[in-house]
Symmetry: C2
């Protein structure tokens, strides 16, 4: 592998003008409950409300001017759709977003609000990929995968760089794992910028493909993904898997009730709005709290885009 | 009146060790919608989740050591119950909290969590006052009114002092008005520390006693108070009224749907949890936005204690 410390620093400099440096918060009540010092990196306050803004921006900035002119494409019904739309808009280029026809109206509105051009397709992975491929062929636009893309992974890693700048002696950084972009990027950053800082993934038991992949040594698939953590229903990508195998200490799986309880704890005690996916790392730390007793732990709160009409409590 | 600039500064110094200096946040999306620059002082991140911690702490600190030993009393089913409990606990003294028997269990639990001793009474103003008077007589404890108390008012004013330290050129400071402590304290602070900064109150149309009192020149009562802004169902106090008459520019009244829409806007765009009462100032600014076009406006977000099972959206 290349000099990833240097590449990560360059990535951070590249995207800085386009993203917020988000605050780090902590809660005495939560620290007392867990018996550790937890520092929450608030990517729910990031532009468009999630860390995905970092990776999307980096991927777009890394294209040649010529390629930028031909636009970018992604397929997503979630945060990456908004991130690519806003990232492209910031640079004055076109974003084509392939979305399943059954995506919530509020998500379609958000993408349009950020200037993304939506193409609706039947809600299957195959239809989404086919529609995206067609735009790539016809317009010459560049496809940006929501997580399994090295530029995206490096961009996501910049949140952990900032967290380690603020708190250099963290013993652990913990993130959720869905496609694996945030976990892989954070693990690279923790390895290169931490002071013996280990990276931990939190994953819903109901969509535990990353945990099973680490066990078997090959990429496993989820048969179903009935988790409240809607951002983590995706599958682990192969680039992410390589990085996670090498740099991640452990993945801890949590039950649905543990995710909801951790989400509620953050809402009630910290007065901030986080997505269910965001609560998975805290749920994991609470579940194994003996292991983390007295430690300094950084948690990346990945996003705050939640449908207020459909809360799990 | 005395030298309130000096008294406010002393108040601020006195309570500093016991309260958080809360952050100020802003939102491009909300600024664009309103056509003004709004700075939100996040007292929802204050200890126990509301600005009331400031006033309660100041009132307790201003007691003689001898009086402190005899404890303090308040009657409240809301934030003041928690503020007096936590403020007293910080100083190692007893807090007696008279609460209506129908107060939500979650609020009783919060008060007990902060060490307050609850006495439950039938839910009438008379029963509450009688129970508080009895504790004052029997134990020699000092009664601390939730809003109509000069020490409380001065303590509440310290949030506006900090906001003006961070943003000295605000044209307006806007707060909700219920009992009037926050509005009166903020108006004193804006007058003494602002650069020609005017103070505006926001009040629910459904509990508009302060607006009507300003019109008639005498204290008016609410017949009913059917507002979602549960923190503002109380009546304006006479000390507050004197200060508000002299120092407040205007009270703007808003409808229930305007309060809920402003609350949702803050939740969705800023990803922070605020009480319905908190949303009243933004609703007021949006309602009269022509008047505030281009202005720099400070809004005190008063608190974040909300029952997540009973949201208005």
């Amino acid at each position: 592998m290349g000099d990833y410390k240097k590449i990560l620093l360059e990535t951070h400099e590249r995207i800085k003008p386009y993203v917020h440096r988000t605050p780090v918060m902590s809660s005495t009540a939560i620290n007392n409950k867990v018996g550790a010092e937890i520092y929450f990196k608030c990517e729910n306050f990031q532009k468009m409300g999630a860390f995905k803004m970092r990776g999307a921006t980096n991927a777009i900035l890394n294209l040649s001017k010529e390629d930028q002119q031909k636009g970018v494409v992604t397929h997503s019904s979630g945060n990456m759709a908004q991130a690519v739309s806003l990232g492209a808009k910031s640079l004055g280029i076109e974003a084509h977003i392939v979305m399943p026809s059954n995506a919530p109206q509020v998500k379609k509105d958000a993408v349009r609000g950020y200037g993304g051009r939506i193409q609706e397709v039947t809600p299957t992975i195959e239809a989404r990929q086919a529609a995206a491929d067609k735009i790539v062929l016809e317009k010459g636009s560049t496809f940006i995968h929501p997580s399994n893309n090295l530029d995206v992974i490096l961009g996501q890693g910049t949140a952990a760089i900032e967290l380690l700048e603020d708190h250099p002696d963290l013993n652990f950084i913990c993130t959720p794992v869905g496609g694996g972009g945030l976990l892989a990027g954070s693990a690279l950053a923790a390895f290169h910028f931490g002071n013996n800082c280990k990276t931990i993934g939190g994953e819903p038991m109901e969509a535990d493909d990353a945990w099973r992949s680490l066990q078997s040594g090959k990429i496993e698939k989820n048969e179903t993904a009935n988790t409240v953590a809607d951002g983590l229903r995706t599958h682990l990508g192969d680039i992410n898997f390589l990085i996670i195998q090498r740099y991640v200490e452990e993945i801890i799986r949590v039950e649905e009730n543990e995710i909801i309880a951790a989400m509620r704890l953050i809402w009630e005690r910290m007065k901030i709005i986080i997505e269910p996916s965001c609560a998975v790392p805290l749920a994991a730390i609470i579940k194994d709290k003996e292991k983390f007793a007295g430690a300094q732990i950084g948690i990346i709160l990945s996003g705050g885009n939640v449908d207020l009409s459909k809360l799990p409590f």
